[in-house]
């Protein structure tokens, strides 16, 4: 059964700056059930602006193939808001904008998609592991990191994002079992958008919800409406709180739909019905959330228009900064691979360390 919004106190220590959004909106929100909804909304707006600009940059050839997350903003923003600033987020490629919520410059995030190593960042600076390409392989990292922090006396929690497709990989199972055996402070957050490239969820697993897997690991499992930021916030906050209190890992499934293509190169019309997509597009999270905020008098339509315009122009500016980023140099191919590189580097056909024959 799907769970909707439920009340839970956020213990987020994140500063508005950390969210990387400028303040705005006329009303103030003392926090419905402790959630700063305006802040949450602004994070979603920022993600939307980032995503739409990235898609444009790809069309203009300024970046290569890009995996849009249009519609998954509620899951990502609510999760970022539900954790503490010191908690780490372990990301898949579709969460490539999450570090931006924690201060990474959008142009540096986009640089990844133009194949630029200057997109690489220090995870500890944003408490975000780099986006992971091989499905589910970052889940064991979250477990190891969480156990490691606990061993050092920390009380941080790790949240690991993964998809419905990734759930079929052995690493997802090994990570969840290992985490439950070690009672690691980890939240496994599955964005079930019902598609893995062209593979529908019905072909990925023989269950209605992946949260049913949790019981097999002795951990709580819940499915929430991934388009309802308050519901996601509540479920993640509860799981994070549980983990921080030493009561072990949880599995949260955010049920949604991949409204966009798998990536810009993909043509979904080959494998799914546009009518179905249209249905889900109507339910997209931002418009729906804004309606609530309007109803509650926290915003007026002008705030909304302005906020989207502000966010869009900020991203437009970031796009120009991207174009201005210097290209990488050849030396960077071997840079940072090893702390102690062999004398012969850059290797390949270079005989560097080798003295010529007499």
């Amino acid at each position: 059964a799907m769970i909707g919004s439920a009340g839970v106190e956020s213990d987020s220590q994140a500063s508005p700056e950390a969210a990387g959004t400028r303040s705005g909106g006329t009303g103030t929100d003392q926090g419905e059930r402790g959630v700063d909804r305006l802040r949450l909304w602004k994070m979603m707006v920022q993600l939307r602006a980032y995503d739409e600009r990235a898609t444009l940059l790809q069309r203009q050839g300024r970046i290569g193939a890009y995996p849009t997350f249009w519609g998954e903003e509620a899951i990502q923003a609510a999760t970022a808001l539900a954790v503490r600033d010191a908690d780490w987020l372990f990301l898949s490629y579709r969460q490539n904008a999450v570090p931006v919520l924690r201060g990474l410059a959008p142009e540096q995030a986009w640089a990844y998609f133009r194949g630029d190593p200057h997109s690489f960042f220090d995870p500890s600076q944003f408490r975000c592991a780099p986006q992971c390409v091989p499905l589910a392989t970052h889940l064991p990292h979250a477990v190891g990191w969480a156990v490691g922090r606990r061993l050092q006396g920390g009380d941080e929690v790790a949240v690991a994002f993964f998809g419905d497709g990734a759930s079929s990989e052995g690493d997802a199972h090994e990570a969840m079992n290992l985490a439950s055996v070690l009672r690691a402070p980890v939240v496994f957050l599955c964005t079930n958008n019902q598609w893995a490239i062209s593979t529908p969820f019905s072909r990925q697993a023989a269950v209605d919800h992946l949260s049913t897997r949790a019981a097999g690991y002795g951990m709580p499992g819940v499915t929430v409406d991934g388009y309802d930021p308050m519901a996601v916030f509540a479920a993640v906050a509860e799981a994070v709180d549980r983990a921080r209190k030493g009561r072990g890992p949880s599995l949260v499934e955010a049920w949604c739909y991949r409204i966009g293509p798998h990536a810009t190169a993909d043509d979904p019309s080959l494998y799914r019905d546009e009518a179905e997509v249209a249905l889900w597009r109507q339910r997209e999270p931002i418009g729906r959330f804004e309606q609530h905020l309007l109803d509650d008098g926290l915003l007026d339509t002008q705030d909304i228009t302005e906020a989207h315009e502000r966010a869009a122009s900020a991203m437009r500016a970031a796009g120009h900064r991207l174009d201005g980023m210097p290209p990488p140099t050849g030396e960077e191919m071997t840079a940072n691979v090893l702390a102690v590189p062999p004398a012969s580097w850059p290797g390949s056909s270079a005989p560097a360390s080798v003295t010529a024959e007499p």
Binding site: G115, P134, S168
Partner: protein, 348 residues
């Protein structure tokens, strides 16, 4: 080694000048040749089944299996969940049931999660059952760089498989070879790691040879004859070497280009015959250098043709560093210029 007849002398122009409509059997891309070969084998043998991620509805991310599920059904062209170890392991089980599975691993790096199944089972099952069970599976692996792909979508893991006993490793460098070698691979009784140079999927065109009569093992093929130096290469680097040979010809150096085609077992005879004649050798591949196929080629020469050498065996390879983010890939990949420089070193 008995083997497929060499598809003959072929230089870069011959590989690229022909331009024609998509699907035209007279002129197809390498990826179309793969599709055609799979279609022919599915039609010829009901035991042939395909499995992998997204190979059905969309015909694979490269469209190498386009149209096959519509024609042969969901039971023979199977879309799997995202579980490489699971479906490569399933292919091993299908062999036990008498089928001939052809597995698509979506990209080079996604063969790594299936590594245990490949090494422990696919490669050893025939041996472990006293030869009673054949493992006629084919693992199709699109590999290599040059396609502006994301991280971990440009690796060249072929040498890893060459080092694993019990696997045959082959790779084509032209549409016609892709067609005949893949049809051969599907019929071959032993497990074949079929490395597909994804950079060449659409960059070159060729013709589909008449139905091959597969037998034995693929042999190396002289794609350009020469007398001053032997350039040994395979897969995606062959066009690069042909271009370098072209440049060298302009400078009065006659370079022979040998396309290995089979990486394990290696056609030692062909390598040694050519090198003993030219007395010079350069080996080219984009995979990392250490313990790569180039090392094996050089070692074979160092053991069996050392007295025939008038110069060092020079390797042109990828770096012993991760394949770079794609803005840098053109610097990582061997290019004609690096090959020319290496040949000059070998001629010193």
């Amino acid at each position: 080694m008995a083997g497929i007849v060499c598809s003959g002398i072929r230089d870069r122009r011959a590989m690229t000048t022909v331009v024609a409509e998509k699907g035209d059997a007279e002129s197809v891309t390498l990826v179309q040749a793969v599709d055609a070969a799979l279609e022919a084998e599915l039609a010829a043998d009901p035991r042939v089944v395909l499995l992998g991620e997204d190979i059905g509805r969309i015909g694979g991310v490269f469209r190498a299996t386009a149209g096959l599920q519509v024609r042969f059904g969901e039971d023979r062209v199977i879309d799997t969940p995202a579980c490489e170890a699971g479906f490569v392991g399933a292919a091993v089980g299908m062999c036990l049931a008498g089928l001939r599975p052809v597995v698509e691993l979506q990209f080079d790096s996604f063969s790594y999660p299936a590594f245990e199944q490949i090494v422990c089972h696919l490669a050893r099952y025939r041996w472990r059952t006293a030869g009673a069970t054949e493992m006629p599976a084919v693992l199709r692996i699109p590999y290599g760089g040059g396609t502006h792909a994301p991280e971990l979508h440009s690796d060249s893991p072929e040498a890893l498989f060459c080092h694993v006993p019990g696997l045959v490793v082959v790779t084509p460098s032209s549409p016609s070879d892709a067609y005949s070698m893949l049809r051969w691979a599907v019929r071959h009784p032993d497990p074949v790691i079929f490395m597909e140079p994804k950079r060449l999927y659409r960059s070159t065109r060729g013709t589909l040879p008449a139905d091959p009569e597969p037998e034995g093992l693929p042999r190396a093929c002289v794609v350009r004859p020469g007398k001053d130096v032997t350039i040994v290469s395979y897969g995606p680097s062959v066009p690069t070497c042909l271009e370098a040979a072209h440049v060298l010809a302009g400078r009065g150096t006659s370079a022979e280009v040998l396309d290995l085609r089979a990486l394990w077992p290696l056609d030692e005879e062909a390598i040694l015959t050519s090198v003993r004649r030219t007395r010079r050798c350069v080996v080219v591949h984009e995979a990392p250098r250490s313990c790569g196929v180039g090392a094996e080629v050089a070692a074979v020469i160092a053991q069996h043709a050392v007295f025939s050498l008038d110069g060092p065996v020079v390797r042109v390879a990828g770096l012993d560093a991760p394949f770079p983010m794609f803005m840098l890939e053109s610097r990582y990949l061997p290019d004609p210029e690096r090959v020319v420089v290496a040949v000059e070193e070998a001629l010193r």
